[in-house]
């Protein structure tokens, strides 16, 4: 089932000579349970694509559909509800609130959506437990390593019934071991049915995705084919 669909999405910034086509007619479709990576150089439109997919920004042209519902037909309240309940965001700089514990940070989206503190905390502990972070629940963000902070941010992004995870360079500031742990977590969230879009310029991160879409000058210029099975690399004689 398709969770996110972009149809001919365009976005322009500036006017006259300073006009920049951040996105120019981008089509993208992401199914439940799959991870799509969007790769491209700086200024290719990656982050704009993500903010438009998450309804944080309006496109100038085209249409964004989440679970088949076009965002253009939604009221502001309906979009805000969608952002609270359906979409989880992960940013490079974690965006955890320093005055709240890990469990409180993770429970926050549910509380903002009207859930009372006790069940929200129970749900937060459940997600932290599932993602191997139960020992960190009572800590504050500044007591965690960078890798742990980003894993907490992912726990916050997938709590509740969130079906769409949008991540902008989720492991940009981490070393390769922690970056891999973060990508494994996103991959595991997808195995549970979440649809994920990860924008990155890093091919090692992108290689965790089921499909990689290449963006250049605001256009989706190419994408990978479905990966062949690992046996194709391990056939005797192929590796010298």
């Amino acid at each position: 089932m398709t969770v996110l669909e972009l149809r001919g999405v365009s976005k322009t910034y500036g006017q006259g000579a300073a006009k920049v086509h951040a996105l120019a007619g981008v089509d993208l479709s992401v199914d439940a349970g799959s991870m799509v990576a969007v790769m491209g150089p700086s200024g290719s439109g990656k982050s704009t694509l993500l903010t438009i997919a998450g309804s944080l920004e309006e496109p100038d042209g085209g249409e964004v559909l989440i679970d088949g519902h076009p965002l253009s037909g939604m009221s502001r309240n309906a979009k805000a509800r969608l952002r609270r309940r359906t979409v989880g965001y992960v940013f490079q700089d974690f965006n955890l609130l320093p005055g709240l514990t890990v469990a409180e940070n993770v429970a926050l989206p549910l509380e903002l959506d009207g859930m009372s503190a006790r069940p929200a905390r129970t749900a937060a502990l459940g997600v932290l437990n599932e993602l191997g972070l139960e020992g960190r629940a009572a800590r504050f963000p500044d007591e965690l390593s960078g890798g742990e902070r980003q894993r907490v941010a992912i726990a916050r992004a997938v709590i509740g019934d969130r079906r769409l995870l949008l991540a902008d360079e989720p492991s940009g500031a981490l070393d390769s071991v922690n970056a891999e742990a973060v990508m494994r977590m996103i991959h595991n969230a997808c195995k549970r049915g979440v649809a994920a879009v990860v924008v990155t310029h890093d091919a090692q991160l992108a290689s965790w995705a089921d499909r990689v879409v290449f963006l250049r000058d605001g256009r989706a210029v190419d994408q990978t084919s479905p990966p062949a099975g690992p046996e194709s690399l391990l056939t005797p004689g192929q590796i010298q």
Binding site: A203, Q204, S207, D222, P227, A228, P230, L233, L234, I239
Partner: protein, 195 residues
């Protein structure tokens, strides 16, 4: 990959049979370097000829023939481990050549050429990552081999990204012909003989 030194490394742990050496070699290299038993015996014969290993019994050349490392073999292994491989050769990489050529060929969009190679490399990386996801947690040797392939391929993708950026900047702002300048010192190219 030096099979000779890999066998010395396995024998440095203690005496082993030929068949056992082949199985352990494959296991230690994450089973991505298949080795046939003929290669093992040929290499062992050469190592024995050079005095780096000794066999336990004369006459029996079957899979049960045992070998152990000599003091010279241990010295050879220690020296090899500390000798950096030759990475200083000038690049004659086929991919680099294709991009350099694509810049000059009329009617060819070098960015399309770069993208087709980038896509292929990322697809290869996806396959290696699937292997890591499926098996590398329980197999340290395989995890190290897969990481090495991923970093190698990643370096090529980064070079393609850098080349694309450099070509884009050059197209927007073509380099001016260099003014006559002081003569540069002549650089003598190193000639490296591959062993």
């Amino acid at each position: 990959m030096s099979i000779r030194h890999a066998l010395l490394a396995l024998l440095s742990e203690g005496p082993k049979y030929g068949l056992q050496l082949r199985e352990e070699f494959e296991a230690r290299t994450g089973e991505v370097w298949p080795l046939n038993v003929g290669q093992v015996y040929t290499t062992l014969q050469r190592l024995e000829r050079d005095g780096l290993v000794e066999s336990d019994g004369a006459g029996d050349d079957g899979p049960q023939k045992g070998f152990h490392i000599t003091a010279d073999g241990e010295a050879e292994l220690a020296g090899w481990l500390r000798t950096p491989p030759d990475l200083a050769s000038p690049p004659r990489d086929e991919l680099v050549m294709k991009v350099l050529v694509a810049v000059r060929v009329p009617g060819i969009d070098v960015h399309e050429v770069i993208q087709s190679h980038r896509r292929y490399l990322v697809e290869l990386m996806q396959q290696w990552t699937r292997i890591k996801e499926a098996e590398a947690d329980s197999d340290l040797s395989l995890a190290l081999v897969v990481d090495s392939e991923l970093f190698r391929l990643d370096a090529v993708v980064r070079w393609l990204d850098a080349a694309g950026g450099r070509l884009k900047r050059a197209a927007a702002d073509p380099p001016q012909p260099a003014p006559p300048a002081l003569p540069l010192p002549r650089v003598r190219r190193r000639t490296i003989t591959r062993r």
